[in-house]
Subunit: 153 residues, 2 copies
DNA sequence: TCTTGACCTAAAGTATACTTGAACAAATAG
DNA sequence: CTATTTGTTCAAGTATACTTTAGGTCAAGA
């Protein structure tokens, strides 16, 4: 028989499709806050499952865990995001998506204009000399030196 | 006086704005193929500078090093990408960008429709049940287990 | 001659998002 | 009561894209 005060990590895993390790990781990252039973095992309530669903959906929308955490920490702990919460959050996500789409479109258009050019010059290329580079897909530091190239090529 | 057969790594660094370490890394990754002089130092020719410019521009367009390498290895080594090469490559990049833009737009539209919903259900949410998730921005393995969630939440 | 600067290699560090492994405790099934 | 399953912690591994550090070589200038 199930003790009905809290779900085990295995049950949450089955309900969300997340690996146990991912769930523990998300706790470590402060996205959920399960409590412990008397023997030290994690117990989750349904709010945690909803928070995890939210995490997965937001990741699908392309947000990082830290962006997601930022939204979640605006909610009182252990509370399920309500319809109103979700409406507010999704509007904010929408703006971000819009921005990203606009950037990529601008880039695409410039690429369009550069197809016949082929200059590939760091000094002149409009594709290079842009401040709105596409969001990088990898991680790690870039241009830490802060130097600008010597533009004579 | 400069020996005029090949640029040193420092000169390439100044011309491209890349750190020495990045240039060495790109060599390791097979994006450029400098040769060595009699004392074992790298020597680059102008084709390498162009290849590096291409790498930087393509990264700005959001492509990974392995995608970039894929394009570059189609070119004869030590050869500068020509106007025709660039035209072909940029058309291919353009298709990729178009695809990415279309995906994000579809996502944005669905988000639009979900703003008033707030169900966040893994079983029913149209935002979750999509095959065209946004390209992830972080790295590392995801869903290695290959399991699908148990959809009863 | 000594020092400085540019170069070299190899290994380890950084950030993100997790997984995997080792070693052990507790709950459940037969 | 024992075997299996489920859970726990902590450290290390994976992929991307590099940087940083340590330790050493080589050539030119004071």
């Amino acid at each position: 028989m199930l003790k009905r005060n809290g779900l085990s990590i295995g049950q949450v895993s089955k309900r969300t499709g997340l690996a146990d390790s991912a769930i523990r990781f998300y706790e470590e990252q402060g996205l959920i806050h399960p409590w412990r039973n008397d023997t030290g095992q994690r117990r989750f309530d349904r709010a945690d499952v909803r928070r995890l669903s939210f995490v997965m959906i937001a990741q699908g929308l392309g947000f990082t865990l830290s962006e997601i955490r930022a939204e979640l920490t605006k909610l009182p702990e252990h509370r399920t995001p309500t319809k109103a919460d979700w409406s507010r959050i999704s509007r904010s996500f929408q703006k971000d998506l819009d921005r990203r789409i606009a950037q990529m479109q601008a880039l695409r258009d410039r690429l369009d204009g550069c197809i016949g050019c082929g200059c590939l010059s760091l000094a002149k290329c409009r594709l290079y000399n842009q401040d709105d580079r596409a969001a990088r897909r990898g991680a790690g530091p870039r241009f830490l030196m802060g130097d600008t190239p010597e533009l004579n090529e």
